[in-house]
Amino acid sequence: MSTAQNEARYGTVNGVDLDAVQEGVADPSQTVLSARKLIKTFGKVIGLDGVDLDLYPGEILAIIGDNGAGKSTLIKAATGALTPDSGQLYLDGREVSFKTPQDARAAGIETVYQTLAVAPALDIAANMFLGRERRRSGPLGSVFRMLDKSGMKADAGRSMANLGIATVQNMGQAVETLSGGQRQAVAVARAATFATKFVVLDEPTAALGVKETGQVLNLIQQIREKGLPVILISHNMPNVFEVADRIHIARLGGCAGVITPKSHTPTEAVAIMTGATTLQKG
């Protein structure tokens, strides 16, 4: 089985010539996010071994990889949850460095963690605006510091509706009363609402049933429709091949290659991921 046929096989995604991209390193001025030669070690363990990562405007980039391949480390390094030992990070072509996840958020990057980071006893609207609550206008807000509860509730409802989330109607419902898929939808909607650069989703379908997985995948595509690029970390090959534009394969702290669902089959992707075959560049 050969995975290294070189003729114009990747095509273009959103106007980006992927064949050119595969040849070498992209120009960070074309990308939303570029990571260059990221290195992160934990004692003697090498988490990232000089990885490059590129995210283009309007695409869904999947990151796949075996356990310990470095996909979480890569994404943590790109979103401020970890500081890489060396390497560069470019956001919209400008070099950035994030010391904390808050730095990355402030720069317009939203991450949906596997744990979802929701407060179960608080309602949907409160969770949507958690950490960025809005005050009322006028003296009630400035003097009495009162929250604009109704305004936030209305905006939360609007965000959910914009993303086509119809299964949740009452924004005053406590998150703990929602199903797993609905909670995921709340967390994803929060990220999509506040992100200005891109959204990172860490294993968003891992805990979900078939129907709810479909809804979340739909939601991911909705986010792309809105023009926000998405980084999707997933183990689930059918999901990845269903929605991703490009697939970054993490392996042994590095990158085993970037493929597309058109260029390779899931079986080939797994083979590259596990090292059964190698993807030759150029």
Binding site: P101, A117, A119, A121, L130, G131, F144, M146
Partner: protein, 344 residues
């Protein structure tokens, strides 16, 4: 004669979603949304029962006593509520209050410090004590139970060392220090300025918890500290503020206690830590953090003291009051566990 609207038949899922809930489920939902309802029901039933047993229970005189008795524990329980909402616990509440009170009273009596300044310093001592608890919880990363178990002894000993174990009578204190005992007459109701201050404390803290960003962050930290951190809430700052505000409330309560008791005694408030926790728990605030409210705590404190007064007016041995309080605590935590399992 009847008009029937025909609509598209609901899908199985929709029909399932619209299924009638059992009465128990409905109660569970209502309590989930309003956890203070069950203590309120207990309080109302207790009042009715005690009034039937002894009509004097509802007389202004008895109710006035009830409010004056409940005020101090209610005030301390407000601070305790804040801490328990963050999934913490404060065992040092009584000791810190007594420590603040002894400093306040000795400064004002033998210390020769003007009353208002002595009050201010006493309140400050309470605040700093709370800050110390918060510092140990957030910076040294010790569990609140251990921190406050330690500071319980530290504050207690410090208070005794400072006062020499002596009792300071109100006659030795300036009017400002005794002010919280001033009686306000409303018809046949006699409440004290202290009771009014406690009501104000409840309103201010209740407002801050339910209406402000800070309050929401307190709930978020208590719900899931990791999630709160991930959404960018400065968790340690919230925790530190909670312990400090609780200390401030204890400091103010120290002043109220002097007015209430007519003296500053090192032996006061020995049961305050357990009583305040009892009031919080009976009031529907979860010991696991993240759910509850000040109003529930006030109701919880009223329940404990309504039982005390009601049972004594009924001529029952005081041990039954202790017995009933214990049962209520267990029932309250049981209800909390049940409503936490609520499903949509």
């Amino acid at each position: 004669m009847s008009t029937t609207t025909t609509s598209a038949p609901a899908s199985a899922a929709e029909q399932f979603a619209m299924r009638r809930q059992s009465p128990a489920q409905r109660i569970q939902h209502v309590l989930h949304a309003q956890p203070a309802l069950s203590p309120l029901a207990v309080l109302i039933i207790a009042i009715i029962v005690f009034a039937l047993i002894n009509p004097r229970f509802l007389q202004p005189q008895a109710l006035s006593i009830l409010f004056q008795q409940v005020a101090i524990i209610a005030a301390l329980a407000i601070g305790q509520t804040l801490i328990i909402l963050t999934a913490g616990i404060d065992l040092s509440v009584g000791a810190l209050t007594v420590f603040s009170m002894l400093i306040m009273a000795s400064l004002a009596s033998s210390g020769g410090v003007p009353g208002p300044l002595a009050i201010l310093i006493g309140v400050l001592v309470g605040t700093l004590g709370g800050l110390l608890n918060g510092f140990l919880v957030t910076r040294i990363n010790l569990p609140p139970f251990i921190v406050t178990l330690g500071t319980l002894s530290v504050f207690l000993a410090a208070g005794l060392l400072y006062s020499g174990g002596s009792n300071i009578q109100s006659t030795a204190l300036p009017d400002s220090v005794n002010w919280a005992g001033t009686v306000l007459q409303f018809g046949r109701f006699r409440i004290t300025t202290g009771v009014v201050i406690v009501a104000l404390m409840a309103i201010v803290v209740g407002f801050a918890l339910s209406q402000t960003k800070w309050g929401r962050h307190v709930y978020a930290v208590g719900n899931d500290i990791e999630a709160a951190r991930l959404v960018g809430i400065r968790v340690n700052r919230v925790l530190l503020s909670v312990y400090t505000v609780a200390g401030l409330l204890y400091g103010i309560t120290a002043w109220l206690q002097i007015g209430r008791a007519g003296s500053a005694s090192p032996n006061a408030l020995t049961d305050a830590n357990l009583e305040s926790i009892t009031a919080v728990v009976i009031g529907g605030t979860s010991l696991f953090g993240g759910r509850g409210a000040v109003i529930g705590t006030i109701i919880g404190a009223l329940i404990v003291y309504a039982f005390r007064l009601g049972l004594s007016l009924a001529g029952v041995d005081d041990q039954w009051r202790v017995f009933a309080t214990g049962v209520l605590v267990i029932v309250a935590v049981g209800i909390d566990q049940w409503i936490r399992k609520v499903k949509a």
